[in-house]
């Protein structure tokens, strides 16, 4: 079964938003994500997940045999990839169905879904 990569894009919340969240609200959000992760684990489709550091990030590009490094991803867009999940699914339809349950969508984020080319 092929694997799918879920890239969780989000617009970073403002400092004010984060300051005003109560412990109870924070717990509720974390709880939502955990419940979803537990569910896809129970369903046997969870493969991996990781948080990507919000701070830092670099873009590298080759220029005439040399290379250039710029700070990113902030310079490119206000949106950033907060982290990713990998799930296994028969096809895109099924992968979409799995992703739909991700609370990331409920909290205003976007999910980029890509099939990982299987190694032969």
């Amino acid at each position: 079964m092929p694997n799918y990569l879920l890239l969780l894009h989000l617009t970073p919340p403002t400092k004010d938003d984060l300051t005003n969240m109560s412990p109870e609200q924070i717990q509720a959000v974390i709880g939502d994500y955990m419940a979803w992760r537990n569910k896809i684990q129970d369903d046997g489709v969870y493969v991996a997940s990781s948080k990507l550091r919000d701070e830092g990030g670099k873009f590298l590009s080759g220029v005439n045999g040399d290379f250039r490094v710029t700070d990113g991803p902030y310079t490119e867009s206000k949106e950033l990839v907060g982290g990713f999940f990998v799930v296994s699914a028969e096809n895109y339809d099924e992968a979409v169905k799995i992703s739909q349950g991700c609370p990331h969508l409920k909290y205003g984020g976007r999910i980029e879904l890509r099939e990982i080319e299987p190694t032969p």
């Binding site: 109560s22 109870e24 717990q27 994500y33 955990m34 992760r37 990781s50 999940f85 609370p103």
Partner: protein, 422 residues
């Protein structure tokens, strides 16, 4: 889930972060000084936000509490250093930090309990205005957010934030982080218990705020009272009486309103919804309150609450005993609101007619005539005497004075019943 289980769950899982937040603020106040309360609260928030950003992706630490406090402590350390106040972190504090590191995993509960106790006393210090003590305690020890406190009080968030910042100024003005001792103990313990009593009543009152958050206030008051009762210096019969009172009242919370949020009269409540664990805990604390020779108002109120909670049915409630407790309460410090409750018990013992006579005497107090429950009580006894027109008039006056939707619906229901009979 059975109702019996809910109180335990709401204690452990439901408000994990809230409790963590309160414990972190308390333990950091001990280590870094309660004068740094603003930096402490900010750092605790940092730690919770760090969890919010990391944990959804599966990097949940084995010991979440230890992880959170470690992050909060480091952020606070950085923050204080950045504010060039590192000189305020003296050797003793360094020592405390080391000690804290060593004991982190083994003595969490006991250690936190004492820190939370000291934090309660700091928030209820006489220097803090009494009307801000409850909000400050909810914010710091309780881990409630400003929005949640505002919802419970039906107040504006800005107003609550302003009140809290004024109260925190007092915390910064040299209040000591301690369990009071000697002559100071009694008045300060009384002040803390009064604040918890107010916190509970704020949650229990049917007239204000959002139902869910008010419920949380009740259980928070119970949790904090348990902390006071759990410390050898502050445990006293009066504290046990207060917890007994809380337990008996809180046990009936889920039966007090139906699925639509409508009020359910005590006589019509489904007793199988009462929390039996809470009632058992109430009995235990009532037993422990019966030592010593002080008979506090909390003792009397706890006994009244026990009469309701322990009666087999509404019909077997011991109204005589309740009336006696109210008489004793009123002989101490008279209150017109308590008088209203006394008259209800009086009416159950001596009949509706005599109760109405007492009510008209109480009605000479002009404050009472603008109190909806006064008219509700009159209507109740008038309806019992089948004086339906006068009862309907009293219900309508109560309705005019009611701003709470649930109470308003309750009154309309009674009015409809009366008009059906007559």
């Amino acid at each position: 889930m059975t109702p019996a289980q809910t109180s335990q769950v709401s204690d452990s899982l439901d408000h994990l972060f809230r409790h963590h937040a309160g414990q972190m603020v308390s333990v950091l106040s001990r280590i870094f000084g309660v004068g740094n309360i603003d930096a402490i609260e900010d750092s605790v928030q940092d730690a919770l936000v760090a969890a919010l950003q990391k944990w959804p992706f599966g990097e949940t630490p084995d010991n979440p509490r230890a992880w959170l406090i470690e992050v909060a402590k480091n952020r606070l350390y950085d923050r204080l250093r950045r504010e060039k106040r590192s000189d305020s972190i003296d050797d003793e504090t360094h020592e405390l930090i080391d000690l804290h590191d060593r004991t982190r995993d083994t003595h969490f509960v006991g250690e936190f309990g004492e820190d939370e106790l000291k934090m309660i006393f700091a928030c209820c210090h006489p220097a803090v205005p009494p009307d801000s003590q409850v909000a400050l305690t909810l914010k710091t020890v309780g881990g409630f957010g400003v929005g949640e406190i505002a919802a419970a009080y039906l107040a504006k968030e800005e107003a609550v934030a302003k009140m809290l910042s004024r109260a925190k100024q007092k915390l910064r003005s040299g209040i000591r982080f301690e369990v009071p001792a000697g002559d100071e103990l009694k008045p300060r313990l009384d002040a803390a218990l009064r604040a918890l009593y107010m916190m509970f009543n704020e949650g229990y009152a049917a007239s204000t705020g959002e139902a869910l958050i008010r419920r949380d206030l009740c259980f928070e008051a119970v949790r904090l009272a348990r902390i006071i009762a759990g410390h050898p210096v502050t445990a006293s019969p009066k504290v046990h009486a207060l917890i007994a009172l809380f337990c008996f009242q809180a046990a009936r919370l889920s039966a007090r309103s139906d699925d639509r949020g409508d009020l359910v009269l005590l006589s019509e409540q489904d007793r199988s919804l009462w929390d039996k664990h809470m009632i058992a805990e109430g009995i235990e604390h009532l037993r422990r309150s019966a030592t010593g020779d002080e008979l506090s108002d909390y003792h009397l109120e706890a006994e009244i609450a026990s009469c309701y909670a322990l009666a087999e049915s509404f019909e077997t409630i011991d109204w005589k005993r309740i009336l006696k407790c109210y008489d004793l309460l009123q002989s101490g410090r008279y209150s017109p609101v308590v008088e209203l409750n006394r008259i209800i018990a009086f009416g159950r013992v001596n009949g509706a007619e005599k109760a109405l006579e007492e009510l008209s005497r109480l009605g000479e107090n002009y404050l009472m005539t603008s109190f909806n429950f006064f008219h509700l009580t009159r209507a109740y006894f008038l309806a019992e005497l089948r004086q339906n027109e006068r009862a309907a008039e009293a219900y309508r006056r109560a309705a005019d004075l009611t701003r709470n939707d649930a109470v308003a619906r309750f009154i309309q229901k009674r009015l409809a019943e009366i008009s059906k009979i007559s």
